[in-house]
């Protein structure tokens, strides 16, 4: 069913800046649909982002208040805005490099404090805007502009990271799983806690072309094959499991 999301977008800036095949446009759509479903008032939502492709998902497109900040610092800005006006619904939308590498300290401390923020991390596993350098989320062996022979380091498991730091709720889904991703965002937005959504989003331009998946269709298909549920992971061959991404909801225990 087609839905009119015009009211949720700033009318004077309609075109998005994303490359063909980028998953961020899908994520943009999913976030706004979640907000529309919940009938949240855009006038009461502040969207905070850092620097990078994903930081342009809300800014300046979303028709609420938007704060496009410095590289890595979105959560710190968001903390001040939320604490000074607790009535605001504050949603942080930014990329994996921004939130978890340069901004990693702010991420774990906001989770520790249980600051009432929903952080949506668009994870494309690479630095896209700067030309495809390795990220703290790039899988082992990934070819990037700075790891020509493959990434020698393990990536962060972002959901385990924030849960370990105290987050009440974390979920990981791909933009190829739009309905469950949207449900997870709605759940997070409905909570009064620090909540974290890792949204896997393909980057054919920087990630795909270096890693033998240079069409957007190929990348989307690969994500659909690689993303499995915890139930599907049970009993799976260990070597096969290493190539998979376990998606689902993760609660603080």
């Amino acid at each position: 069913m087609a839905r009119d999301l015009d009211a949720y977008l700033r009318q004077e800036v309609k075109s998005t800046p994303f490359c063909p095949g980028c998953g961020h446009g899908i994520l943009m759509n999913i976030i706004l649909r979640a907000i529309a479903d919940m009938e949240l008032d855009m006038k009461n939502i502040l969207f905070v982002s850092g620097i990078g492709c994903a930081a342009w998902i809300p800014s300046p497109h979303f028709n609420g208040d938007t704060l496009h900040t410095l590289h890595g610092r979105a959560i710190a800005f968001a903390t001040g805005a939320k604490m000074a006006n607790p009535k605001l619904k504050v949603i942080v939308i930014s990329g994996d490099g921004d939130l978890t590498s340069i901004g990693g300290n702010h991420l774990i401390h906001a989770a520790r404090r249980n600051t009432n923020l929903t952080v949506i991390c668009a994870n494309n596993m690479i630095y896209g805007m700067t030309g495809g350098q390795v990220a703290s989320t790039s899988p082992l062996g990934t070819i990037t502009a700075t790891t020509g022979e493959g990434n020698p380091y393990r990536p962060f498991d972002l959901c385990r990271l924030v849960l370990g730091a105290g987050a009440e709720y974390a979920a990981r889904f791909s933009v190829t799983q739009p309905l469950v991703l949207m449900a997870a965002i709605k759940k997070a937005l409905g909570m009064e806690d620090f909540t974290f959504i890792e949204a896997l989003s393909p980057c054919p331009t920087q990630f795909g072309r270096r890693n033998k998946a240079d069409s957007s269709v190929q990348m989307l298909k690969a994500l659909m094959q690689d993303c499995i549920t915890r139930e599907q992971a049970k009993g799976m061959d260990k070597d096969l499991l290493k190539t998979k991404i376990i998606t689902g909801e993760f609660h603080h225990e």
Binding site: D65, H68, T69, R73, F77, T79, G80, M83, A84, L88
Partner: protein
């Protein structure tokens, strides 16, 4: 255009025996500060400790953040949520904050930063005094911009200038720094609190452009998050409504021009100074901060022994008092500039004075003693 308001003092009027750091915190509360974020650092931590206590009493928000970067970023966020907000720090923390201070300047965010300067560079001597952050205050972040920096010489002025810093930051929508020396921060002396405090609140106009005015030196109205204005704020170059324009030379030139002009063209209203015994002086000491106390004592002693010496005390460091120094220089006297750094303000004075300017630098972590100033002036007079 701004709303000025006289409010009741937060503390009962009367005399108090405060340290400079305590007085800065009280000045903040009196000015209407309701958000503080900081990270522990010597010799400024007492400001944070007092704010933690006082903000509770006035229903404000206190946050001890994970580092100085988070502190200043959250202060910017809180300011856009409508709070008067501040942080305090010292050299190493001030260094960490520079990128976000540039963000504060470019997004025209009112905020106050109190820098209790210690002996640098680097970790330096954390508990010792210095005035080495003045050029950093002006040039620490990248690009061309202006800020306002004040220089208090007493506990009273820590209170008064912190209030003034909030008022200036609201009036000009710019980060304002109170550049105190450690010796002023830790000085304990009598100060007076008057019953009423002059405050200034930011100018709001619904629907108006938050990042542009007709005048090339104007200060636009500032809405807050949650007011239904659909504000878009960015540290990228933006048009008058805050929409990114990273490929338009005219927009960039206009914005950079205005954020500089709104301070520079109002220099005469911003800059404050005090003059003592200038009329027949053959040597004029130009000093600021704690060093001006030593200079004041030295000038007084020299006058008693018949020497024609005067003092010009700079209460504002940035924007620099270029016109004032130029006028003083034309009097044809010698200027003597004692500083607890390697001549940071001396260089500015030399630029504009047009007369002989004699520097006196001390970077040993100690205050400049009046007897040293007396000895040097006796040699040049």
């Amino acid at each position: 255009m701004n709303d000025t308001m006289e409010v009741q003092s937060a503390l009962a009027p009367g005399s108090y025996f405060f340290t400079g750091n305590e007085a800065a915190a009280e000045g903040a509360i009196a000015a209407g500060c309701r958000y503080y974020a900081g990270y522990p650092i010597t010799p400024s931590s007492e400001i944070m400790e007092r704010m933690a206590q006082r903000l509770k009493e006035v229903d404000g928000v206190f946050m001890q953040m994970e580092d100085e970067i988070a502190s200043i970023c959250s202060v910017v966020g809180a300011s856009w949520s409508g709070s008067k907000a501040m942080t305090a720090t010292s050299g190493p923390g001030f260094s960490l904050m520079q990128e976000a201070l540039g963000y504060g300047v470019f997004t025209e965010t009112p905020l106050v930063l109190v820098d209790i300067q210690r002996a640098g560079p680097c970790t330096g001597q954390a508990t010792k005094v210095g005035s080495g952050d003045l050029m950093q205050a002006k040039w620490g972040s990248h690009g061309d911009y202006q800020i306002i920096a004040l220089s208090p010489w007493s506990v009273q002025e820590m209170y008064d200038q912190t209030i003034e810093a909030f008022n200036l930051s609201e009036q000009y929508r710019v980060p304002v720094f109170v550049m105190a020396d450690e010796a002023v921060g830790h000085l304990r002396e009598r100060m007076d609190i008057s019953p009423l405090v002059q405050t200034r609140n930011r100018y709001k106009k619904s629907g108006a452009a938050p990042f542009g005015t007709e005048e090339n030196d104007g200060v636009p109205p500032m809405p807050s998050f949650g007011e239904g204005e659909s504000i878009t704020v960015t540290g990228s170059t933006h048009n008058e409504f805050g929409v990114r324009k990273t490929d338009d030379p005219a927009v960039h030139e206009r914005l950079v021009g205005r954020i500089n002009n709104k301070i520079l063209n109002h220099r005469e209203n911003i800059i404050q100074s005090e003059a003592y015994s200038l009329d027949d002086a053959e040597v004029i000491v130009v000093a600021y901060g704690f060093t001006a106390r030593s200079a004041f004592f030295a000038v007084d002693q020299l006058r008693k022994s018949g020497k024609k010496v005067g003092l010009l005390r700079l209460k504002t460091i940035w924007p620099f008092a270029d016109g004032l120094i130029n006028r003083i220089g034309k009097l044809g006297k010698k200027l003597f500039v004692p500083e607890m750094n390697s001549g940071q303000v001396y260089g500015e004075i030399r630029k504009y004075a047009g007369c002989e300017v004699i520097p006196y630098h001390q970077t040993n972590g100690r205050i400049i003693h009046p007897k040293d100033i007396i000895a040097h002036i006796e040699r040049i007079i």
